[in-house]
């Protein structure tokens, strides 16, 4: 793929902001959140070395939106083009997952699709993964593999920009005066950086080893007690599903306004007790442990069966957000141990 070089971020970001609304990461102390880019701001935009706390779904599938209006039907408004800077490989893969659900041919979500088409994606490499990052277990990388318009890699003297398909090319062409060529030396510096971070991640996750696929592990956990055990630590804050970039549960509710009735679409959480309750009171997942189990089954078995990919990118956001201390990696580890135990017993019986 084509690459170009720029020594500073600001002129690049200014050029993006000339063309469209731009959102950039802002250091909030322990993590990054997204803010609207202000070219006049004094503080420079920080290159986020790790994913933001904000899940990227917010840009495509906002916390709450108007989905229908009575009596006059609502069609998606003209969404203005917008750009988001600083997405990581896990974020790009989370978009791939959401695309499966919301742009499905049979039932396409017009609001999601409208935003998706207008989104200009500027991803960047990771260089400081957190302890909670376990993307490498789920085929993730600390650098974008595909799905971006532009990807930025920080090197000693500046930034290498890798140019994605059409939209990215058009942008670079339009602003070509900003960029210079990238030589071999810069590219090998990038490769070195990437390999370094990759190695760091692999070391981080050296302990997280499974004896078989995660799918098989969770599918064999139907009568495991691990979920009820973990549930003791869960305070049902639902933070895991909020910050998760792939969780996409929502509910529709109706509202009255002065001159119209509206139907709103709002994020929901499968961890909520009444989530699956019907009007008559029946509820297949009354028990918290069953809800935790369902969440994992959905991520690693059901979604995979239906769409061909896992519904988790290993970004570790849920691990960081967990107020009670439930750690998806620990659950998987325990289930793996359990399955190993079962297999041994089976093997013995077979002898």
């Amino acid at each position: 793929m084509q690459t170009v070089f720029i020594s500073e971020l600001k002129p690049f970001l200014d050029a993006v902001a000339e063309d469209m609304d731009l959102y950039v990461p802002k250091n909030a102390g322990t993590h990054y959140v997204y803010n609207r880019y202000d070219p006049a701001a004094e503080a420079p935009v920080e290159f986020n070395n790790i994913r933001t706390c904000t899940p990227i779904k917010e840009f495509l599938f906002p916390l709450r939106e108007l989905a229908a209006v009575f009596p006059e039907p609502l069609e998606p408004k003209d969404i203005k083009p917008f750009a988001v800077f600083g997405l990581k490989d896990c974020d790009l893969r989370s978009i791939e997952i959401l695309d499966k659900v919301f742009t499905e041919e049979e039932f396409e979500d017009p609001f999601y699709t409208a935003r998706r088409e207008k989104m200009f994606i500027i991803s960047s490499d990771c260089s400081e993964p957190a302890e909670s990052c376990f993307c490498t277990i789920l085929d993730g990388r600390p650098f974008a593999q595909s799905g971006f318009d532009l990807n930025i890699s920080q090197v000693k003297d500046g930034f290498i920009i890798e140019v994605g398909p059409q939209k990215g090319k058009d942008f670079i062409e339009k602003h070509s005066q900003l960029f210079t060529e990238t030589g071999e030396a810069l590219l090998s510096e990038r490769e070195e950086n990437r390999a370094g971070t990759q190695k760091q991640l692999e070391q981080n996750n050296a302990e997280l080893k499974f004896d078989t696929s995660i799918k098989e592990i969770v599918e064999n956990s139907q009568d495991s007690e691990v979920f009820d055990f973990e549930a003791q630590n869960c305070i049902e804050c639902q933070a895991c599903t909020r910050v998760c970039p792939t969780c996409h549960c929502f509910y529709l509710y109706d509202t009255k306004r002065e001159d119209y009735f509206g139907k709103m679409k709002m994020w929901d959480s499968c961890m909520r007790l009444a989530y699956a309750e019907v009007a008559g009171g029946a509820n297949p997942r009354k028990v918290l442990g069953d809800r935790i189990k369902h969440r994992l089954m959905h991520k690693f078995s059901y979604f995979l069966d239906r769409y061909g990919i896992d519904m988790c990118v290993g970004c570790g956001r849920c691990v960081d957000a967990e107020a009670g201390g439930v750690d998806i990696r620990e659950i998987l580890k325990k289930l793996n141990e359990e399955l190993k135990g079962k297999d041994k017993t089976k093997a013995k019986v077979a002898k």
Binding site: F70, P76, L252, Y253, G280, P284
Partner: protein, 273 residues
């Protein structure tokens, strides 16, 4: 049709029939024709208040209007029960798979229903009797709590029972003065030789507890799990396989169901809850 899948089609309630103390049938006329297959469901919106899923109880052949039979069970259904003729409502759908009627051809169709479960069954029944010659027979077993709780009384007690090829038996959990027929839950009127199981399919629809025991009884009679069709009632919101509310195991009830063979879902936990 609207491009927005969350946008209901404007509709009007043109008639309301009191079926039982807790059940009413609403006759709804949508501004655009809605074609559905029997067993599919629609999302009915009471503007400003809420939305709930219902399986129409009318025949799909009637494309001008749609009957929706509703039991008062929660907030939205309670408010719907207070509605008068002329009320504007919204309809999204139809959603889901519906009954595989063509697969029933040449077979005995054994229908077991309870309570408001007769609503989807009525639509199925009307579809079946439209082409009754295609099926070996239609055998119906239906139970209500008391004689007052029967719905579609006018047709249920008269015309439907006289159709050639239809065999109907009714029961109540508790009798009152005039009731001369069976007393006992619906499973007490299911008999092994009601149909020739080798060439039959069973359709079960009603409150979860009734579906559970009816299904167990049918299995005991020798029905294969793949011969039993169940219409699942689950929490639904979007109706289009996205919001996640309706999931049982890997299935989205709204999209892959609501009609399942027992075989498809039997291994998932708590399917009747």
């Amino acid at each position: 049709m609207s491009q927005n899948l969350y946008q209901p089609i404007n509709s009007e309630i043109v008639d309301i029939v009191d079926e039982s103390p807790t059940i009413k049938t609403f006759v709804v006329v949508p501004e655009e024709k809605i074609k559905f297959k029997t067993g599919q469901f629609v999302e009915l919106t009471l503007p400003g208040e809420g939305e709930a899923p219902f399986t129409p109880s009318s025949s799909p052949a009637d494309t001008e209007k749609m009957d929706i039979t509703i039991m008062k069970a929660g907030r939205v259904t309670g408010l719907l029960h207070e509605c008068k003729k002329g009320q504007k409502v919204g309809i999204r759908g139809p959603y889901g798979n519906g009954y595989p009627i063509d697969d029933f051809a040449g077979k005995e169709v054994y229908i077991v229903g309870g309570g408001v479960g007769l609503a989807p069954i009525r639509s199925l029944f009307l579809t079946l009797i439209d082409r009754i010659k295609d099926f070996k027979s239609v055998v119906c077993r239906y139970g209500a709590r008391t004689p007052d709780d029967f719905i579609y009384k006018k047709t249920l007690f008269g015309p439907w029972q006289k159709i050639d090829g239809v065999h109907m038996k009714l029961t109540v959990d508790e009798a009152n003065g005039e009731w001369k027929d069976n007393v006992g839950v619906v499973t007490t009127i299911l008999k092994r030789d009601d149909v020739n199981i080798a060439n039959a399919v069973a359709v079960v629809c009603g409150p979860p507890i009734m579906m559970k025991f009816a299904t167990l009884k049918l299995l005991e009679f020798g029905f294969g799990a793949e011969q039993i069709y169940i219409s699942m009632e689950k929490n639904m919101s979007c109706g289009v396989g996205k919001c996640g509310h309706c999931m049982i195991g890997k299935y989205y009830v709204c999209k892959d169901g609501p009609v399942f063979t027992y075989d498809q879902i039997k291994d998932y936990p708590n399917i009747w809850d």
